[in-house]
Structures are given as C-alpha cells and as structure tokens.
C-alpha cells in the first residue's frame, strides 16, 4: 500500500514541479502576438477566398499590419470592410479593387450538372447546395461572386451572371441636386482615369 503511495506521490510531485517550471517559463518567455493582426483579421469576412492575393484572411491581415498590402484588396468584404480596416490603420480609404465590376453571381446550368460536388467544396461561403449525383444550385443571397467555383467544375456548367438587383439591396436614388451631379461627374472622371 505504502509503495503505491510513494509511487503516486513521487510521480505526481515530479509532474507538479515540471508544471510549475513550465508555468514560470510561460511568463518569462511570453511572446506578444501582434494585436493589430488579430484585430484586422477579426474585420475580414473569413471566406479564405484568396482574391486579395494572399493564401487566406490571416496572411492578408498580417500583410496589412506590416504595411505591405493596401487596405482595399478584400473583395467579399467590400466597401464596409475596407473602410473598417482603413479606419483601424489610420489610412485614407481606397475603393475596393473589384468594385468597378458589377456584383456577380454564380449560376449552375442544372441540366448539365453531373453532381460531382466539386463546386460545393470550392465555395468559401457554403452558398452551393446539392449532394453527390444530384443537381447543385447556388443560393443567390449567399453568393459573393468570388468565381472560385468556376475553375473546379469538370463540365463547365457554371456561369457568372450579373447579380439581379434584389429588393433588399435597393435604395432610393440620390436626389438630383447640383452637388450630386458634380459628384457624378467627378466619379466618372475617376473611372476614366482608372
């Protein structure tokens, strides 16, 4: 009986000492992870789509925090994300690169779909429904138009269509004032330059 007790106490005591040493080491060798990276990462949509040119949202956040990337590369995040990041970084907001393009929407021609599920796996926002050997289809409200599903489709049955204007997104047009007309002209010049 006492032998078991000795064994328990010695192993437990040793483990305790090792644990304490590690706890102290944790404090001594504590590494600050860059809080800025985490905050930028929290603003990003986490679709990991790679349209910013980085392998995911976190690497893009690191690049922005290090000042190596502009704030306007996140396409799914759109204007709102860009403004939030610009605000956080204290830089001038810049139009999101792809914004000039009309919002796109993936569309699957169902009679050609072979039900291979490859596009489902590619979709970063889970906007494609379907099962193996069943037709797949795109949930229009969830599709960000990232085009990642087009490439894997073996029968090329996915089209990128212009996103129809949904009633949820519709807003009253701005009043036709002198100021609005000036703005329109200026925006037109801007687009012309780009």
């Amino acid at each position: 009986m006492s032998h078991i007790l000795v064994a328990l106490l010695s192993l437990g005591g040793f483990a305790l000492v090792a644990g304490l040493v590690l706890a102290v080491a944790q404090k001594v060798f504590h590494v600050e992870s860059d809080p800025l990276v985490d905050r930028i990462d929290a603003l990003l949509p986490q679709t990991q789509c790679g349209q910013c040119g980085y392998p995911g949202c976190k690497p893009y956040a690191e690049a922005v925090a290090a000042g190596q990337a502009e704030v306007n590369h996140c396409v799914p995040g759109g204007d709102r994300t860009m403004r939030a990041i610009a605000d956080l970084m204290g830089v001038q907001p810049k139009a999101v690169e792809e914004e000039a393009k009309a919002p796109m929407l993936a569309f699957i021609r169902e009679d050609e779909c072979i039900g291979c599920t490859l596009c489902i796996k590619a979709c970063p926002v889970d906007a494609i429904v379907g099962a193996p050997k069943q037709y797949h289809t795109v949930i229009a409200e969830h599709c960000t138009g990232c085009t990642l599903c087009v490439e894997p489709c073996p029968v090329d049955c996915i089209d990128m269509l212009q996103k129809p204007e949904l009633i949820e997104h519709w807003a009253w047009p701005l009043p036709d004032t002198r100021r609005a007309r000036q703005g329109k002209v200026r925006r037109g010049q801007h687009a012309g330059h780009a």
């Binding site: 064994a7 040793f14 090792a18 060798f29």
Partner: protein
C-alpha cells in the same frame, strides 16, 4: 581524455542513432529537405537530448532507484522529455522567431522522437557516471545532427539531378538514406563499448 574520445566516437559514428539503430527516422526524413532547417532541427535536438540524458540520469539515480520505482521509468522519462521540449519551444519562440517558424511542427514532434527516449533509456542501462552520460547524450545528438545535415545536403543536390520519374521524391530519399546507413555500418568495430 581517451574515455571522452571513445564515448563521442561511439555515440556519433559507431552507434549512430539514426543510421545504425534506426531511431528518430521521422525528423531524419521530414526535416532534411533544406540544410538550414536541418541545422535548426539539429540544434534543437542536441539541446533536448543532452539535457534529457542528464535529467533522466538524475531522476534515475535520486528518485527511481532509492524509491524502488524502476517500473515507472518510461512514464518519468516521457514526462521529463515532454516538459523539456515544451520549455525549449517557448524559449525558441521568444529568442528566435525565424528558427521557430522554420522548425514549425517538428519542434513539438521532438517529444515523440524515439531517439530522445532511446538515448535516455539506453543511457541509464549502461550504468554510467553523470558526466559520461551527459557526454553520451551529447554525442548521440551530435551524431543525429551530423547525419541530418549531411543527408539534407545530399537531398538538396539530388533535387536538381535528372532522376527517372519512378524514383523521384520519396523512393530516392529512402534509397539515399539506405546508402548512408550502409556507409555508416562501415564504422562498426571501430570502437568497442
């Protein structure tokens, strides 16, 4: 002095843990893609192995033998190695982030590197003094480092060689490892320990 040379020669060349005892093959194949990572891994293993050899010797001498707990040897040793590796991981993360990134997953994997446990277990079986067991641990680690760096050098060169498609990648790596092992077998009988 002859003792020191003998122990080192024995541990580094004759009883090389990777090529003659076939322990620690995982990092040997996994981290040998580039010379720089191989060198980083070698230093980490050297540090862990030497410390593990001394720490396990102390535990064996002052806890396990007096309390008659030799049947707990493996559990104790694993505990020591795991805590040591954890400690070193924190230290490297703090002192050299570049090395930390380069070692990546292989640093925590030293915990399960059987060569480290192998050194600790074989060491206490040999009934050595404290200093010679520390030296033996260091020698074994140096042998591991030598082989790992040499092998990564070989692999870097082979990478650009025109190789038949069937041998590309892992097959050629394994064949190279086998050749190296054959070469190291040549040292057997150099030192009797």
């Amino acid at each position: 002095m002859t003792d020191v040379t003998l122990i080192l020669l024995s541990a580094v060349l004759v009883n090389n843990y990777v090529l003659t005892k076939f322990l620690g093959i995982c990092p040997f194949l996994g981290v040998s893609g580039k010379v720089e990572t191989a060198i980083g891994m070698s230093f980490a293993v050297m540090f862990v192995m030497t410390l593990a050899a001394t720490a396990t010797w102390l535990v064996q001498r002052y806890i396990l033998i007096p309390l008659d707990l030799l049947y707990l040897q493996t559990v104790f040793f694993i505990l020591i190695i795991a805590s040591l590796v954890q400690f070193i991981e924190m230290m490297i993360h703090k002192t050299s982030p570049v090395l930390y990134q380069a070692l990546g997953i292989f640093l925590p994997l030293i915990t399960t590197n059987c060569a480290v446990l192998g050194v600790a277990l074989l060491n206490v079986q040999k009934d050595q003094t404290f200093l010679s067991s520390a030296l033996y641990g260091f020698g074994a680690a140096a042998g591991f480092a030598l082989v790992l760096v040499l092998f990564s050098g070989l692999r870097e060169r082979i990478e650009h060689a025109p190789v038949p498609a069937a041998f590309k990648g892992s097959p050629l790596t394994l064949i190279t490892a086998g050749m190296m092992s054959l070469a190291f077998m040549g040292f057997s009988g150099l030192v009797k320990m």
